[in-house]
Amino acid sequence: MIMPVAYIAVVWSVPSLSGSLGWLRVGQFSPFLWTALAVLAILSVIGLILYFVTIRPDLSHQPVMGSHRMNPAALFAVGIGIAVLNAAVEESMYRGILMNALDAWLGGGILPIVLQAIAFGTLHFNSTEPGVSGVLITALLGLVLGWLRRAGRGMLPPYIVHVLVDIGVWTLGLLQTA
């Protein structure tokens, strides 16, 4: 958690860098976007369950999950908290700072969405969803989140789906440890 705090401290304290936070906006919601958001959220959670059932990844090595002093309800509440925080950090990094920079370099289009999705995938190479299958499934999710960011022109649409998927990952990890 030190890294995001250090980043925000530097960017906010250097006046010439504060202009690079233009991506920090909720976005525009239309009926089409709400529908797409709902459909993609459902598809993402279904995809996660299929990944869990077919690949059988070890999702039990998540923070706090090994604590036997918490009851399942408390552990689930912790999982929601971690999902809310983790999604905020990852969305800021990948759909915020990285995609904004790629848009400035490539001038929009599909390539920034693809590149940030690949980066988001490789981030998970040694993460909760480890290995090549983890990279592929998270890169696919990165494409969905990147498209939502582009279509909604804001950070809230991908953030909502990311939180739901993270809660799903946490729940599946809890089921594995049970």
């Binding site: 890294m3 250090a6 980043y7 530097v10 960017v11 010439s16 860098l17 504060s18 202009g19 690079s20 233009g22 991506w23 920090l24 906006r25 909720v26 976005g27 525009q28 990844p57 070890d58 999702l59 039990s60 090595h61 990094m93 700072i97 990285l98 904004n100 920079a101 790629l102 848009d103 400035a104 370099w105 001038g107 929009g108 590149l115 690949i118 980066a119 490789t122 981030l123 998970h124 190479f125 040694n126 993460s127 909760t128 480890p130 960011r149 909604g152 022109r153 804001g154 950070m155």
Partner: protein, 108 residues
């Protein structure tokens, strides 16, 4: 006084609630810094491996700890290049890469 404060808060609300504006196209030097940052963003997570399952405490660097210093050096070079380009977006992404991946040098 109250009116100007209301106007300021309305402008602030509109800024946060509104859509993300299209970022201006970066110039050549800044584009190069962004390209290198994106490359590091993609490649650096692959530089560490987990020899035993999903236990994240067991992470080690491919090529040993020296590789960690090489990566840190690369990140620093990209950050300096971004600062030299005087582009806020390029500095922002290079700074993020430098901060988020400087921990790689502490891996065995």
């Amino acid at each position: 006084m109250d009116t100007s404060r209301d106007e300021a808060s309305a402008i602030g609300r509109a800024r946060v609630l509104g859509p993300i504006p299209e970022p201006g196209r970066s110039r050549r030097a800044a584009s190069a810094a962004i390209m290198m940052s994106a490359g590091l963003f993609i490649a650096i997570p692959l530089s560490a491996v987990l020899p035993t399952g999903a236990d994240l405490t067991a992470l080690i660097m491919r090529g040993g700890s020296l590789m960690g210093f090489v990566i840190l050096l690369l990140c620093a070079v990209v950050l300096v290049a971004a600062i030299a380009s005087r582009d806020a977006t390029a500095v922002s992404i290079a700074l993020l890469v430098f901060l988020s991946h400087s921990r790689q040098r502490r891996l065995p």
